[in-house]
């Protein structure tokens, strides 16, 4: 039986145990549960102690069990580079953080796989109050350095958003998409912007910043029936745009102006007024919009020109005698 199975059984079994009729029996059961939980925690700790430290960077280190040791150093490098770009030196907690990604036995399956394997990034000093997360993930999420880095950034982004406080976390409930490329994220946000067909969404495209504020969940609408708002991806893109515009230290400025609106937090991060931020965000996305269809004159010229050259070549090399 896997450790998580044991833990789950222990938790699920608690009501049955509590229905024991006399207090001493209940007390004995409670002691048993506590002992079992300690066994599971110790087992997890033993598991982690089976990992080897592979590489270090200022404030970070990576450890892995045998299976993931070959990719660990590269994962740490990529993770660190992206983390610094968006969050500077900030961690989810002053005491650091720990993200352990596990693959292997699932608590829902009965068959044993090849055993559990883990890859762990620790943000030092990794104190008792450090933010921790240890999800069981699919093997494909740790298949290579790129996939593993994405998985770590996904978890780290959620931890960082959690650390900002409830309003911002509620504003982007899906977390920050750090694991996709800037180009892919911006393109998806552009699609969301230009395909919105609600009244406020159309107004935002045409340049009404108040409408943009509404559809991004930052402001109330002044008009009746403004229509739908944009997907959380657009909000995440706005947040990341604000961090990009704000440059180094942008994330640290984000929680400034406590009690203020989300718009004010974003503006603080970006280092500019809210309307300027919204205008820059909107214009940036509209600039990504293709200005022509699949075919344009240069493409036609290239294809026809090269086709002609190829035909001449074909006539020349078909010399069978």
């Amino acid at each position: 039986m896997s450790k998580l199975t044991l833990l789950a059984c222990s938790v699920l079994g608690l009501p049955a145990i509590v229905t024991a009729q006399d207090a001493s029996a209940w007390r004995d059961s409670a002691y048993r549960i506590t002992a079992e939980l300690r066994v599971v925690r110790d087992s997890i700790a033993r598991e982690e102690s089976g990992m080897e430290e592979i590489a270090r960077r200022p404030g970070l280190l990576v450890s892995a069990t045998t299976k993931y040791q070959p990719i660990a150093a590269e994962v740490l490098a990529r993770f660190d580079s992206t983390r610094r770009r968006w969050f500077g030196e900030a961690f989810p907690a002053a005491e650091g953080f720990r993200i352990v990604l596990r693959t292997g036995d699932r608590w829902s399956t009965r068959r044993r796989g090849g055993g559990e394997h883990s890859l762990m990034i620790i943000g030092l000093p990794d104190g008792e109050a450090a933010s921790r997360v240890s999800p069981l993930v699919r093997e494909s999420e740790l298949r290579g350095p790129e996939e593993a880095t994405r998985s770590f950034l996904d978890q780290f982004g959620r931890m960082m958003m959690g650390a900002t406080g409830a309003p911002l976390q509620r504003w982007i409930p899906t977390g920050i998409p750090l694991m996709i490329s800037d180009a892919a994220r911006r393109e998806a946000a552009m699609y969301a912007l230009v395909t919105g067909d609600g009244p406020a969404q159309r107004d935002c495209v045409t340049g009404v910043l108040a409408a943009c504020g509404y559809v991004l969940g930052l402001r109330e609408s002044a008009t009746p029936d403004p229509g739908a708002k944009y997907l959380p991806l657009a909000r995440a893109d706005l947040l990341l745009t604000a961090l990009d515009l704000g440059g180094p230290g942008a994330w640290d400025r984000l929680p400034d102006a406590p009690g203020a609106s989300i718009e004010a937090h974003l503006a603080a991060a970006a280092g500019m007024p809210p309307d300027s931020l919204l205008a820059r965000w909107r214009n940036g996305l509209l600039a990504l919009r293709p200005d022509h269809g699949p075919l344009d004159v240069p493409t036609i010229a290239i294809l026809l020109g090269w086709s002609g050259l190829v035909l001449i070549g074909a006539l020349g090399i078909a010399r069978w005698v």
Binding site: E187, A188, A189, M190, Y191, A192, V194, T195, G196, D197, R202, V205, A228, L231, L233, R289, P290, G293, P294, L295, P298, T299, I300, I302, L303, L304, W306, S307, V310, L311, G313, A314, L315, I317, A318, R319, W320, V321
Partner: protein, 216 residues
């Protein structure tokens, strides 16, 4: 002579043309149908999926070009080009006849794609912000097919001597590439050549880019 050549090539390749045309007809319809879930919040995802489907257009052009070019020249190659060489026309003219007749075989495939694109877009209620490009997508496909067919045609028509020279040059290039890498590990000749071919004004630059039947 061109009519006779077209009839000859149609006899040899009609089953291939029909198969490829069916695939070309289906491609735009399937690409739109699998992702379309109406307007609203599904649209960004639909457009991203459509972008991925866009990879199938240059791939389809490549497959069509290679298969048809090989089929066109198969009989001549089997007979060591003797029949062609005994005809009372210069060799280059025979090759040109084969090429022009080959273009005729590409037409049904292009037409099928165009019909499929028109059907796919006509069946949708386009929201504001989206534009349809059945005609220009088909035109781009046709031009890409023209280029790729030319390349495949040249390779299939090449004499053994020309192919031998080609392979030897390729081998020499690989040898130079290895030597350069040993001297300067940062230099990658193969990557430079591939980049030159795949970026403007290289011939394969247009094969990348946007192949969107529906776009913003």
């Amino acid at each position: 002579m061109l009519k006779a050549m077209i009839r000859l090539q149609w006899k040899a390749c009609w089953h291939i043309v029909v198969t490829l045309s069916a695939a070309a007809l289906a491609l735009p319809i399937v690409s739109v149908r699998t992702g379309w879930r109406g307007t609203g919040e599904h649209l960004p995802r639909f457009l991203i999926e459509l972008q991925l489907w866009g990879l199938f257009y240059p791939a389809m052009a490549a497959v069509t070009a290679v298969v048809l070019a090989a089929a066109i020249w198969a009989s001549d190659r089997r007979g060591h080009h003797i029949y062609a060489l005994l005809l009372p026309i210069p060799r280059w003219r025979y090759v040109l006849l084969r090429y022009l007749a080959g273009l005729g075989l590409l037409l049904p495939v292009v037409l099928a794609l165009w019909i499929g694109a028109v059907i796919a877009t006509a069946s949708l209620d386009m929201p504001p912000g989206l534009r349809q490009f059945p005609h220009s997508l088909t035109a781009k496909f046709a031009l890409a097919l023209l280029l790729l067919f030319g390349l495949a045609f040249a390779a299939a028509a090449a004499s053994r001597r020309a192919l031998g020279i080609g392979f030897r040059l390729l081998g020499l290039f690989v040898a130079v590439h290895v030597a350069v890498i040993l001297l300067d590990p940062g230099t990658n000749l193969i990557w430079r050549v591939v980049s030159a071919l795949a970026t403007w004004p290289g011939p394969f630059a247009p094969l990348g880019g946007r192949w969107m039947l529906i776009d913003v």
